[in-house]
Symmetry: C2
Subunit: 517 residues, 2 copies
């Protein structure tokens, strides 16, 4: 049994049975090994950013790692931006990066590069397999690292470790490090602070604390003690919809975020980090809480966030049957009609969302209204790119669809962002994934126009316009999708958009709606 087979077997023994791949020559033995394991689902991406973004989406929905297969340093480099997003989402992932045979590296062949150094900034764990006998222990360690938060594990597989004889596969499964226990002293201190600052307390929920059961505990605390609930500006994953507790998302613009948090004296972090400005601006603060606000961490990512919330509830005397405030009926507003707008799309999607759908939101400025409306939609999972690196949406939808067959995935996608990993549409078509992609075609990097105004430039000239606008020529998303084998259609009225959405939701398989806004 060669090293490549051992690596596959260790992955499969640990239920890592999806491999998003863009292989090259140095990975041919690993590809041959995968070929001998039909129980491994291999999903080809035509660009590595698709591969890593899909692994991110998969992990968000399963809390389990997928493997990625990347070709040497440049292949890893192409995948790094979405590994960055995954790292910021704090999901598990096992990147397998093929490299030259160890004895070939000193020859400095064209594809040689320093893979360890490239991997380090976006990985929590990096290891180079030292030889065939090291494949099994390294693979076990990679699985363990991926399951021990934070979980981005990058494993470098030299070709000669893959093709060398590697002995038997260990029978034991990799055991992740046990999660650290949250601290009861901290719980008591926070309970005291909540009581002392009644009505001026906020709580930021993320990760496992943004799932239905944890949200419900937080919702009871909120109802009983007037604690305001927030999500981070970029939502890794949150369970939303009717009947669920609905935190308010901290806005992206600094002034709006600071206004929201202006009367919060105690901010409790549950798996979250202290909210900070996305970017710095001259003369504006980077922290978003008000002067003197006490920021307290109830529990960190990797700890049992739901148990920590329950402990806080107990400490505060919140009863398990305490009523919670949840969204119920959809806001009473007329159905959108006429010219299509960003907000009309948000309303239509929220209204028509099927039960148990998954929404991948990379519409940047365009779907701003969606998150608030999602509280009134059918229960669903909601997620965004979390590292600020655009190009995560189309791949994330791939991963979510593969993770959750039978659930409809809706990808709210900006045209600017979508182009970074547009190749993912082909994978959606090939795998017949149940993804409806809605491209908000506004023919511009709208966020950058806003940011130009933020830096004080109101009238822009030719050079700036040509760097911020996507017109000349206009992207035709129907042609792009068709070119990758994906059915698609265009809408420029609300009526047409709703008809296309109804049709796409009524049948399985991928579809793209180009929404002209």
């Amino acid at each position: 049994m060669n090293g490549a087979d051992v690596l596959c077997d260790v992955l499969l023994a640990n239920d890592v049975n999806v491999c998003f791949a863009n292989p090259g020559t140095s990975e041919m033995h690993f590809v041959a090994a995968l070929d001998r394991k039909p129980e491994m689902r291999c999903v080809l991406g035509l660009f590595e950013g698709v591969v890593t973004g899909a692994a991110d989406g998969y992990a968000r929905m399963t809390d389990r790692p997928a493997a990625t297969l990347l070709h040497t340093g440049p292949g890893l480099a192409n995948g790094l931006a979405n590994i960055h997003n995954a790292r910021r989402a704090r999901v598990p992932m096992i990147n397998i990066v093929g490299d030259h045979a160890s004895y070939h590296l000193p020859l400095d062949a064209p594809l040689t590069s320093d893979i360890e150094t490239l991997a380090a900034p976006m990985s929590n764990w990096v290891r180079r397999i030292s030889g065939p006998a090291d494949v099994a222990p390294s693979a076990q360690a990679a699985v363990r690292a991926s399951l021990t938060p934070p979980g981005i594990a990058t494993l470098i597989l030299p070709a000669d470790a893959a093709w060398g004889g590697a002995g038997p596969v260990p029978s034991a499964r990799a055991v992740p490090a046990p999660p650290p226990a949250f601290d009861m002293d901290v719980v008591r201190k926070i309970a005291e602070a909540v009581r002392a600052s009644h009505g001026r307390v906020g709580m930021v929920l993320r990760g496992r604390a943004a799932r239905q059961d944890a949200l419900e505990i937080a919702g009871r605390i909120s109802a009983a003690l007037d604690v305001r609930l927030f999500s981070e500006v970029l939502v890794a994953r949150m369970q939303r919809g009717r009947g669920r507790v609905a935190p308010t998302r901290i806005p992206y613009p600094i002034d709006a975020a600071r206004a929201l948090l202006a009367d919060i004296d105690v901010l409790i972090l549950v798996g979250a980090k202290e909210p900070v400005a996305f970017f710095a601006y001259p003369g504006k603060p980077g922290r978003l809480v008000c002067e003197g606000c006490e920021v307290m961490t109830l529990a960190e990512h990797g700890e049992d966030l739901e148990a920590a919330l329950a402990a806080l509830g107990d400490e505060l005397g919140v009863k398990p049957l305490q009523p919670v405030s949840v969204a119920t009926a959809f806001p009473d507003e007329p159905a959108p009609r006429g010219t299509l707008t960003d907000d009309a799309i948000a309303v239509s999607v929220a209204r028509k969302l099927p039960e148990n759908a998954i929404v991948c939101d990379e519409a940047v400025t365009s779907a701003r209204r969606y998150f608030a409306l999602s509280a009134f939609a059918a229960p669903h999972d909601y997620m965004m790119g979390t590292g600020g690196s655009i190009g995560g949406g189309i791949p994330m939808a791939i991963g979510a669809a593969i993770a959750c067959p039978g659930r409809k995935v809706i990808n709210l996608e900006a045209d600017g962002s979508g182009m970074y990993t547009v190749q993912g549409l082909w994978t959606q078509a090939r795998e017949k994934l149940d993804v409806v992609t809605i491209v908000f075609s506004n023919r511009t990097y709208a966020i950058l126009h806003a940011e130009m105004r933020n830096v004080g430039v109101n009238a822009i000239g030719e050079n700036a316009r040509r760097m911020l606008d996507l017109d000349q020529p206009i992207l035709d998303w129907v042609s792009l999708a068709n070119g990758m084998g994906l059915e698609a259609a265009r809408a420029d009225t609300c009526e047409r958009f709703e008809a296309l959405l109804d049709s796409a939701l009524s049948r399985p398989g991928p579809f793209l709606i180009e929404a002209m806004v």
Copy 2:
């Protein structure tokens, strides 16, 4: 004057007047500064691999750096694969990577990453601007670094250095380090070796040694002393065509390469590295020269290669008017007819190539015949991706077209490779570049099928097939091109291909031919 203005002015003062850009928020002050400099040509890429690949193509044709503008660590990461290619081509390039304001970094906002570490493996020089006053010296140093081989310079521009007051622009131009002189003792030793091993000497020419005048000197040495002339397997740039000395390209397959070099006892490197196998295979050697072959370096990249060749010619008593052997008439073979094939395309392109064209070859396995035929084509420049990272072809054509207005650029592109940076077609359309892209649509990663056979796998199963083939669904390149505003048409016969090629060559502006092979 703020730092961003100073940076632009230093670039412009040093004739760096093309900026390939994919900006984000942290670069808005730099974008505003570029907007005030209409003499800077700003070219938007919809993905960073387009941006860096274009800068590579520009530098190959001008021997001068373009600037790239990239957004924080993930933006740089997306551009690294083509920076890797550029580094292997040893061209000058100035990457400007925007980052958060320095005081914002400790807050670890979502887009924060370790840019220095990401940049290091693919850069020859990395510097972070320390503040507004450091912009001018850093920019000067970056220009100098880019012009002092090897020349990949990466300059990190924190937002507060861009927006801070930065004083006047230095009037002096950046002066690159003087090129090291080649060593006359080495020249004499090599001359001795050439005489001693008459008929068993080879010479590998690259970089400036692969331009017409240097090739001619090498050709005279070759004719006078029976020295065989080679190019590296991946050609950074070579002047080819009728009337020019035509080195033989060292083949990619190890066995063929070793056979070519089997009777070479002395191999002289002129700006080149010793040829090695692209990848390692079990039981095959990594070096390509025969046992006992003496490898001697006449001059290294960065030295005056043409002068070194001239000195060697003098030392060997080769006369300036010694006849050289050059290709003249096109090989006598019938024009291709009927079903379109890879080789038929190579023949048609070589036959019809306009004078002074630029050929960017990223067709991987498909255009194998082209290089040999290019010796008989009209005089032109030929270049390939040099780092083995695919996705360089479409962007390289952009850079070449911007570098050389009035010259036709022909991009021989594989379908697999083309998808990595397919977004570049949009930039070709927007800039109305004189590029004819020929996509060899074979619906497979043909090279990987060959490599599977190389590792001993002849019958492949479902998992491997799905990782190596691009069918299901088939990519429709005409739709993809049209979706990005580019005219395109499909050919599946030689006649149709030639008609499309004639038409595309007869008028300016971009066109894509999907060649079904």
